[in-house]
């Protein structure tokens, strides 16, 4: 397969395209935006440099997303999923972060090679991110109204620099409508409040609404519902699925497979800064091709008090400073053999549209043994 030589091309790149599924290898846009992928990450490798030395947070991560697709990035703490989101947005502080190799292609441009100042133009209308803790993304000294209004002003300015001034009343009613769409009761009252006066779920919805005002083409959401109860979670997921209907691409970062199973078209399972498995959500969950994925599936509590213990692999998320040799999951893996300890498996095509990085998976039937 002929590929334009983007930074750090190797065999992973081919994979990254194919993970996209049946549409791969057909049309190729001028630069980078191959196969209709809106976002195309190749072999992204990120180190964090500290006094103790370098820690590799991401190791050769390849991932893509098409327009209108919801792609889940699933992993536990230390799997590098948040770093991935920040790297896409160019929000990694350097130092300590250091991008070793790889590319993040967005609409034909490598976001890692942008000149200073260009990234700001992509934030907002191009790619946006919603963070786990809304208190960190809202300004504590301004009311909800002021903060939403600020985003609206930026949007108006970008849309048309000669746009006429909007009166206070008009913008008030626009904001109230926006909040009402988020199922917030009495928006006029909520508008006047400060972030700390809102409940967690409400804050998160305000934060999401601010990041959707500019209708970003890609939205990255980092665990937006963690710690919220089922109702609020449902409301927020409902908001995202409405976003998706309006054509936005969504990268949904989560550790919760139940959420991923509800909204993601495809998922990437990450472990120790690597993609362990990728494929469409339903088949990944029903028939995992990696023992780590099956551990994640087994971790979801099923049944009642008399149910058998959860079939989860012992051990805990890896310490990135002290990773084992070979496959990074091997100390926890019940199927690990010598080769798993010696050599690290690459993400390979196993079944149609399914990829896994595992020595023990049988390519013929997609079972590991």
């Amino acid at each position: 397969m002929a590929i334009d030589d983007v930074d750090g091309t190797d065999d992973r790149q081919t994979l990254a395209q194919e993970v996209g599924g049946p549409a791969s290898g057909v049309t190729r846009l001028a630069e980078g935006g191959r196969d209709g992928n809106l976002l195309d990450i190749n072999d992204l490798t990120v180190d964090f440099v500290s006094v103790d030395g370098k820690v590799r947070i991401l190791n050769g991560v390849s991932l893509n997303a098409k327009k209108g697709e919801v792609v889940g990035i699933v992993g536990e703490s230390g799997s590098g999923k948040t770093t991935l989101g920040l790297a896409i947005l160019g929000l990694l502080d350097s130092p300590p972060a250091e991008i070793v190799r790889g590319s993040v292609m967005f609409e034909g441009r490598n976001l890692l090679k942008l000149k200073p100042g260009e990234m700001e133009k992509i934030h907002g209308t191009g790619i946006n991110m919603v963070f786990q803790e809304p208190l960190d993304s809202l300004n504590p000294v301004y009311t909800v109204e002021t903060q939403i209004d600020e985003a609206l002003k930026v949007q108006r300015k970008r849309a048309d620099s000669t746009a006429m001034q909007v009166t206070d009343e008009e913008s008030k009613s626009v904001i109230a409508d926006l909040l009402r769409n988020l199922c917030i009761d009495k928006p006029e009252e909520v508008m006047e409040r400060y972030p700390h006066e809102l409940s967690g779920g409400m804050r998160q919805r305000v934060a999401i609404s601010i990041s959707t005002i500019e209708k970003p083409r890609v939205m990255i959401s980092d665990e937006p519902t963690t710690g919220l109860d089922a109702y609020v979670q449902n409301r927020i997921l409902g908001m995202f699925s409405a976003q998706r209907k309006s054509g936005a691409t969504l990268l949904y970062i989560t550790h919760d497979l139940t959420i991923a199973s509800q909204i993601c078209d495809r998922i990437y399972i990450m472990y120790a800064g690597r993609v362990m498995e990728a494929g469409d959500t339903a088949s990944v969950l029903q028939n995992p091709l990696h023992p780590y994925t099956s551990t994640l599936v087994a971790s979801v509590p099923q049944g009642f008090e008399d149910a058998p213990p959860l079939a989860v692999q012992l051990g805990e998320p890896p310490d990135l400073r002290n990773l084992p040799g070979g496959c990074k999951f091997n100390p926890r893996c019940p199927y690990a053999t010598d080769i798993c300890k010696r050599e690290e498996p690459k993400l390979e095509h196993i079944l149609s549209g399914r990829y896994a990085a595992c020595w023990r998976v049988d390519k013929a039937n997609g079972k590991f043994s």
Partner: protein, 346 residues
């Protein structure tokens, strides 16, 4: 069969710091309103409800961090007088707690071993020579490796810290362990391990649990009986299987229908109005689809048999009243209502 914990008509009010006006005193908020429940020996009682429903308040009353405004708490048949130091000491000897936040619940200046040893020292019931053995035993059970013992909490992951909290609570055997969202800050594979550990521990240590979480999947998996709180009031209590498969209170029905599982490919996209508790009467009546004129009063408990209790007027006078208000069919109640639980077919 004795009850380990008997809570009767427990009410806890908090007074707001801000006065309503110069002439009106500060409004008080009932975090718990007339809550009665029992926890049996060796039982796991699951308490669920959304944020702000008073779950943590109940936990804190049970370890003596909050005093009840009214009502009584009995542990092992002894009524706790919250002003009496001996009673509080008795309470703390028998009840342990694990908090949600693993960062703030551990002293950052102590090593892991010191954190756990503190609990042993405070208990005074275990001879010093047994300390190492106890620490060894409990850390193994909760999955804390030996090399963590000399480290300080700051250097540990959230999962490790939470397991240390668990070890601290269990290193001295307790009759009741209050688990206030113990796994919601943990990674999923760690959560599963902790849940497995908790179940194993319970049978080994002869402890009852009060398990508090908003995660219905978790609470179903761990608890024998289940209580549902809505803004300080218990609305339904019963056997977990019964409440899960045949929820009666409109709030419980709605809550359970919002649970995400791996199987159900379903997502609520419709508007759900914000849950505002009603100031009087049934607190759920503002959002309740089945609310009718009687809901302005406080509903009393209706016994549906088999320990299944619901606090709702829909069930107060048999099936006649229900048909009048046009309750959705799934809420229909009666002796002939024997639906097959979906879990048994899958």
């Amino acid at each position: 069969m004795g009850n380990l914990v008997e809570i009767e008509n427990l009410t806890v009010s908090f007074r707001s710091k801000r006065r309503a006006s110069l002439f009106r005193s500060a409004p008080s908020l009932k975090a718990l309103d007339d809550v009665s429940l029992t926890i049996g020996e060796n039982e796991t009682f699951g308490l669920t409800g959304e944020t702000g429903s008073g779950k943590s308040t109940l936990a804190k009353v049970l370890v003596g961090l909050y005093r009840p405004t009214s009502g009584s708490v009995k542990i092992l048949g002894r009524k706790i007088d919250y002003k009496n130091r001996k009673d509080i000491a008795f309470l703390r000897r028998n009840v342990g707690i694990v908090f949600q936040d693993p960062v703030r619940s551990l002293n950052p200046s102590l090593t892991v071993k010191e954190v756990i040893t503190e609990a042993l020292l405070a208990s005074k019931s275990i001879p010093k020579k047994d300390y190492d053995e106890r620490i060894d035993f409990i850390t193994k059970l909760v999955g804390v490796t030996r090399d963590l013992l000399p480290r300080r909490p700051g250097a540990l992951s959230g999962g490790q810290r939470q397991r240390i909290s668990l070890a601290r609570a269990l290193v001295v055997p307790k009759k009741l362990l209050v688990l206030d969202e113990p796994t919601s800050a943990l990674d999923v594979s760690i959560q599963a391990q902790v849940l497995n550990t908790l179940k194993k521990l319970k049978s080994e240590l002869d402890t009852s649990y009060l398990f508090i979480t908003h995660d219905i999947n978790v609470i179903k998996y761990v608890s024998h009986r289940l209580g549902v709180l809505f803004y300080g009031r218990l609305v339904e209590i019963g056997d977990t299987l019964t409440v899960d498969t045949e929820p009666k209170h409109p709030y419980t029905q709605s809550l359970i229908s919002h649970v995400l599982t791996l199987k159900k490919a379903w997502l609520q996209e419709t508007v759900i109005s914000e849950h505002r508790p009603a100031p009087s009467g049934c607190r759920y009546r503002i959002v309740c689809p089945a609310a009718f004129d009687r809901c302005g009063a406080v509903p009393s408990w209706v016994d549906l048999g088999g320990g299944h209790l619901v606090s709702c007027f829909l069930y107060d006078h048999g099936p006649n009243i229900q048909s009048q208000v046009g309750l959705p069919t799934e809420a229909a109640v009666g002796e002939g209502d024997l639906r097959v639980p979906p879990h048994e077919t899958s």
